[in-house]
């Protein structure tokens, strides 16, 4: 196959590209330039977006012996990921930009362009496994290394996208990937993993949002969930996340003296509702924008769901709705915010995903 290896400059994507080449594929390395001004994105020990990362990716491609190019996806990334991220926060939701990037950039813009240019697949350094079922459909399963499993952020991929994807690292523990990188002479073998949001250069998401959302600053009241009493005011509902405890700066202590948490954010009025920890417990969810890896379920499905990256699995029943699907959680969850992705699993297999719009409490 002719394979495009998306190379961030990190160790995982470098080893993934090397494995694809070793498997006999005709591999071309590409680094995605996601910022028009590369200096404005995070520098240092991260996985993408900086000139240094582009150079690391280039040197890995040299070592593997494959052609290498930089693709400028900055406009698409800004529109589909950065602006969406801002709009979600402005709307009182908590988005995951990595899912969005996988859905709209890596396995959409890059894949479509690659297919048109004559490539057959995109390979990345994500930790997930692909298996072809008896009927020919491609299934995505959790990675062997449970600590590194990234099937959650890939839960947005459709059958068409999965059929043109390669995840060469899914069967390996991370430690083995690093050893292999060193053995292959890849300079990035010891490069630290990336954890933060790549387009927020200093890792200060709150400060970044404050800067960008200054114009749409929606001040409002902080209200007690039980009494309805206004406990204070705030300078923008996007500063808060459901489940947040710190930084509420409420002068008045709760009646029972226990800590209060953000329970709800109403973006139109700007009202932030706070209450006790037990009020964060969620037993049901509504999800929209369903994306199914294969056939959509047409009946209630006994399954598990994961509600945040590296989060716990919850036993659940998923019921298709006209908008997407509803989820009854057999194992309740806490601190679930609208905007987060709900990824549905059948055992290790990813069934699909949706975006949480509403949570119901016990």
């Amino acid at each position: 196959m002719r394979v495009l290896a998306a190379m961030s400059g990190g160790v995982d994507s470098a080893v993934a590209a090397a494995r694809a080449a070793e498997a006999g594929h005709d591999v071309t390395g590409i680094h995605l330039a996601l910022s028009r001004n590369p200096k404005s994105y995070r520098t240092g020990a991260r996985g993408c977006c900086t000139i240094e990362d582009a150079n690391d990716a280039r040197r890995a491609a040299d070592a593997i012996g494959i052609p290498f190019y930089v693709w400028d996806l900055s406009d698409q990334f800004h529109e589909a990921v950065v602006e969406d991220f801002l709009a979600e926060y402005a709307g009182g939701r908590t988005p995951n930009p990595c899912l969005r990037c996988n859905e709209k950039i890596k396995f959409a813009a890059v894949l479509e362009k690659g297919l048109a240019l004559g490539f057959d697949a995109v390979a990345t350094g994500h930790y997930a496994q692909l298996r072809t079922a008896a009927d020919g459909t491609v299934e995505m399963h959790r990675a062997v290394d449970a600590g590194k499993d990234q099937s959650y952020v890939l839960g947005v991929l459709t059958q068409e996208q999965l059929a043109h994807s390669l995840f060469p690292l899914g069967d390996s523990p991370k430690s083995q990937v690093r050893e292999e990188a060193a053995r292959r002479g890849l300079q990035v073998a010891a490069k630290p993993d990336s954890h933060d949001i790549c387009f927020i250069s200093d890792g200060d998401t709150g400060g970044w949002l404050a800067d960008k959302l200054d114009d749409v600053n929606r001040g409002g009241a902080i209200v007690d969930s039980a009494s309805g009493e206004v406990l204070g005011t705030h300078e923008g509902s996007w500063r808060y996340t459901v489940g947040q405890r710190k930084g509420l700066r409420l002068g008045v202590p709760a009646g029972d003296g226990r800590p209060r948490y953000v329970l709800d954010i109403e973006p139109v009025s700007g009202t932030v509702t706070v209450g006790p920890r037990e009020a964060l417990t969620v037993t049901a969810l509504d999800c929209i924008r369903p994306l199914w890896c294969g056939a959509a379920p047409d009946a209630p499905l006994e399954c598990t769901v994961q509600l945040r990256a590296h989060g716990d699995e919850h036993r659940a029943v998923v019921v298709p709705t006209s908008e997407g699907f509803g989820v009854s959680l057999r194992d309740p969850a806490t601190g679930i915010a609208p905007g987060q992705a709900c990824v549905v699993y059948d055992g290790t297999r990813v069934v699909g995903s949706g975006t949480i719009t509403k949570t119901a409490r016990a």
Partner: protein, 397 residues
Amino acid sequence: MTVYLDHAATTPILPEAAAAMTAQLGSVGNPNSLHASGRAARRVVEESRETVARVLGCRPGEVVFTSGGTEADNLAVKGLFWARAAEDPRRTRIISTAIEHHAVLDPLDWLAEEEGAEVVLTPVDALGRIDLEAFRASVESDPESVALVSVMWANNEVGTVQPIAEVVAIAHEHGIPVHTDAVQAVGQIPVDFAASGVDAMTLTGHKLGGPYGVGALLLRREVQLTALLHGGGQERDVRSGTIDAPAIAGFATACELAVKHQPELAIRLAELRDRLVREVQEVVPEAAYNGDPVSAVDHRLPGNAHLTFPGCEGDSLLMLLDARGVECSTGSACNAGVPQPSHVLLAMGCSDEQARASLRFSLGHTSTESDVHALVEAIGPVVERARAAGLASRSLG
């Protein structure tokens, strides 16, 4: 086999230049040392200086060896600005063009930001030639305030040759010194420093068959320049640093041969280039030929073909051609390798989309008919694929 169509980026070293350079690499001797070994090295440098002077129409004392084109451009632009402003603080303006190489544009930006210079970038016409009336108007609006003029001899992207004689005439009416970046011109078209009237001219070795890392600023003897590099006082005290005798020997040999063979090379390359353009357009009729369509050496560099392929992205075309062994350029690339739409094409009135859909093919002394043939064979399917990819990218919206 590689089909190399990127001679404007760098052209293969001439065997004679490599031989002259390697002969010196084995010899010890700092050209500024006073003993026999030093004198021998100094002799090589001075003979090289005389050779460069002879073939390019200047005096040996007017050749300032540098590390290449970028240094020569920086030395000319900053050095002239500082020296002229020191003489008369009213001289704060620099008049240049919108299509200069970044080795001129970026020093200009820096002078504007850090040193209070007022930079005037003269527009160009649709063929990429300086608008002389606009240039004259800029100069004459306040000639006393102009520190220098910098206009390239020939553009590196679209190959348009600039009317340097007219630029010099207008500037010299008011005693304003003129710098020209002739990096792309020497060896492709006739260049004579004295006859051109310019006060400073940038050259570089690796674009004319010499080694990398060496070039020169030809600088009229009476022109004062503030140094960028201070130290041992070499090169008229304008460019300190131990003189690189081996590189200079290779550079001078290449200059001599490039100028000697220029007339026949220009004829051969213009024919090849015209054929390249014609045959590519036969396969891809909508491909637009950018720059000056007239083949004469006072209009266009003979080795330059610059084409826009509507609906395609230049970087897709480049990648697909590269995969077929055909090497060319999208015209400009920054450090991160993120292609920006060419400032030259934008200045010529192209849209962002047209600018991004363009490729530069540049021919040089090793180019053959089979190179052109290989490109013509490859270009049809490549354009078809790149166009499909362009549509795929657009449909994302």
